[in-house]
């Protein structure tokens, strides 16, 4: 036995991450419905048996990819309670852009996979969005307005944010800071409108 091997061998987690990254390259450009499990196996460069050892099927692979992206966003946008509401939002949105810019393929893959016709995949995406929605609502509750108006403003704005980020990854413009400020300002504008008296 080669004594160097145990050091080089990937852990279960590393292997899973590597397979998810390879898969993201495939489904960053095509929807999940257009991709076969063979495409994913080929991209991962592993045996069919090993692939199935980690992921029982294509759907489980995508669900895992979505969960991983959602978890990254959740960590990166963790609100800082020491900041006042608007600054707290700004910092969280900055964290969101960190995730997008450091994982561009994964981000495109996951947020374009919301175009899947698979109800279960859409449901997993929906859970991630609901978490973000609630987190923002918690942060902006003090800004006023009916809960219903705040909710729809935040829901609409999350679609704004995703559209801006997907467009940014495609066109590589405008500069990141300008786009982040656009997203921050737009949310503040939407919440100000939601808080307006009837």
């Amino acid at each position: 036995m080669n004594p160097a091997k145990p050091r080089k061998r990937m852990s279960v987690d590393e292997r899973r991450e590597q397979m998810l990254d390879a898969g993201a390259e495939v489904f960053a450009t095509r929807g999940p419905d257009e991709i076969s499990i063979d495409d994913l196996i080929a991209a991962a460069g592993v045996s069919r048996a090993l692939f199935y050892h980690y992921f029982p099927g294509k759907r489980e692979f995508f669900i895992e990819a979505i969960r991983r992206a959602t978890a990254r966003i959740q960590v990166a946008t963790e609100p800082d309670p020491s900041l006042p509401p608007i600054e707290r939002l700004r910092a969280s949105i900055d964290g969101y852009f960190d995730v997008v810019s450091t994982n561009p393929l994964q981000y495109r893959a996951v947020f374009q996979s919301s175009i899947s016709s698979d109800a279960e995949l859409r449901a997993v995406m929906g859970e991630g969005l609901a978490m973000q929605e609630q987190r923002i609502l918690d942060a902006v509750a003090p800004l006023g307005g009916s809960p219903e108006m705040q909710r729809v403003a935040v829901r609409g704005w999350l679609s704004f944010l995703v559209a801006c980020c997907l467009d940014w990854l495609e066109t590589e413009s405008p500069p990141r800071d300008r786009l982040r400020d656009l997203c921050v300002d737009t949310l503040i504008g939407a919440l100000a409108s939601a808080a307006r008296p009837e």
Copy 2:
């Protein structure tokens, strides 16, 4: 021959409209990828031969439905050149809400069909969005900001608008006027941010 028949018989256009309306009821709740042509034929209540006479296939049916919805939106949001820029926008967004509220099933069907994995369907949707984007950009060009910032602001906001309208059709709240004002204010906020000096 029954002399009353010619009066009652639908024209080609009426028949086509009626079939598209019936189809919308089917695909307002399920994505195009989940619907079979038999579902559409059953909903239309016509013979298979007649269906195929109007629509060569499922894809052509959806494309026609998307084109019809896009055309309705195009007509209803026609800018009024006699109004100043912001008022012109407000009037167009009001027209958009007219289309949504008078054709709720068709709107849901078409804008949820953007979740199709079919590249051609997505391309037809994309044409409709590009038309709306350009129309808004023409209207707001005098507001300032780089063309690139204006473009991304408008693109993001169109996703905001669709998300708000789909949510509104689902939850039936908030009141239409409040939601329309939220959309107007949010666009104005996004454009003001886009126009900010570097």
